[in-house]
């Protein structure tokens, strides 16, 4: 960490817009063409990329503290499915990109967003079960970000879908206390099926293709 970076607070002048570009944590006030900080943090200057027409360096404020991540159109999120209904599934968004959120956001996966082919033949119960962890992308088109409360999520790509699921298989127990549920993480065997390692039972999911 360079000691020469100075700490700035919101509203402090960072430079003139004629010499610098405003990056993350900074903004340009058009009435006097000055760049001000909008966050508390250290002022850093990034050199411009060598092939861009605009050769001004970018000044940014690297947050000493930034607010928790907020889902944005096009961002990849990790969500846990809470309810599966005939045409939609509800999920709680827990991570946006690599960061986890402070408080969960609600997402909805609609029937037409589950996969890219044969969208009207999708059976929600063969795609998701409650408790599954899915990787999805926040939908971005005209009705961007979904309805008033929930974000619309889409799993219509190969690398999106269920990444982890627990089997609900019932195993007879060795002791005479009756059958016990033993839950195990299911293993994906194709893009529509996952298998429980304890019982061998195959269940249907919309599986994400994990590229390793």
């Amino acid at each position: 960490m360079e000691k020469s970076d100075e700490m700035v607070t919101p509203g402090e002048v960072l430079g003139r817009a004629t010499e610098l570009k405003a990056g993350k944590g900074a903004y340009v006030a058009s009435q006097n063409n000055t760049i001000y900080a909008s966050l508390t943090g250290f002022r850093r200057i990034q050199p411009p990329p060598p092939d861009s027409p605009d050769q001004r360096p970018t000044v940014e404020v690297t947050g000493h503290k930034a607010h928790g991540p907020v889902p944005e159109p096009g961002s990849v999120v990790i969500a846990r499915v809470t309810k599966v209904m005939a045409r939609t599934a509800s999920a709680d968004i827990m991570c946006v990109g690599p960061k986890s959120v402070r408080e969960k956001f609600t997402g909805i996966i609609r029937q037409q967003d589950v996969r890219a082919t044969e969208m009207d033949k999708v059976d929600m119960h063969s795609s998701f079960h409650p408790g599954d962890i899915v990787r999805a992308v926040v939908v971005s088109f005209i009705f961007s970000l979904g309805d008033a409360r929930a974000y619309y999520l889409s799993t219509a790509k190969n690398e999106l879908g269920v990444v982890s699921a627990e089997s609900s298989a019932v195993l007879p127990s060795l002791f005479n206390f009756g059958p016990k549920h033993r839950r195990a993480t299911m293993v994906p065997i194709s893009w529509t099926e996952m298998q429980c390692p304890l019982t061998g039972q195959i269940q249907q999911r919309k599986v994400a293709k994990v590229v390793s």
Partner: protein, 263 residues
Amino acid sequence: MAAKPGIAPTTYSPNLVQKTRPPIFKDNDLDWVRPDGRGFHQCRPAFFRTGAVNSASGSAYAELGNTKVIVSVFGPRESKKAMMYSDTGRLNCNVSYTTFGTPVRGQGSDHKEFSSMLHKALEGAIMLETFPKTTVDVFALVLESGGSDIPVVISCASLALADAGIMMYDLVAAVSVACLGKNLVIDPILEEESYQDGSLMLTCMPSRYEVTQLTFTGEWPTPDINEAMQLCLDACNKLGKVMRTCLKEAASASQEEKLDVCF
């Protein structure tokens, strides 16, 4: 004094031409002494600390004389009662008094308009478009009411927002002036507020020199209004510097902690 649309639509820029007019009230005109011995144009010393509440996204504690306020900020988070889709974020403010905070127990509920005043003061300074569809909740609790409550709440709330990492155009500093007969006193205490003929509260963004809220009550002769506003702007500037020092100290203290943990 035009409001420039687009950037911060609910703020106004004061006229930059300094009107040199001799002040009407000089300090040696006193016909009475303030109960705490301050000069008429002297504010109480301000104490600010951020990071008071661990479970909140951001928080701040402010103490000016006997007025003690703690503000917590939560968000941006999903709002349970979002009725309509909005492509900018929403701000939700709540100011409440503790039952022991006022001289007469339980009488703080007279100030129901403080929540909407806090909202108006802050909304011009926050970049709502950086967190669409989510809500930032600001909860202010007045632990002890010692006069000039709402200006202290506003300044403390803007520090809490900065502590939470919410993007803002500038910090918001607020100061109030009371008109007592022919005298103008800045930052009145509870006793002076009960005698006042009029009060003026000015909330501004010191570095951008823009006013986000102006509240007048009572009777005000016109020349006094000008002088009172100049007093407030000047005091807000100084208060802004104190607030920035507080933020920087808190940030460098936590930076040092991080370095210590590494070794």
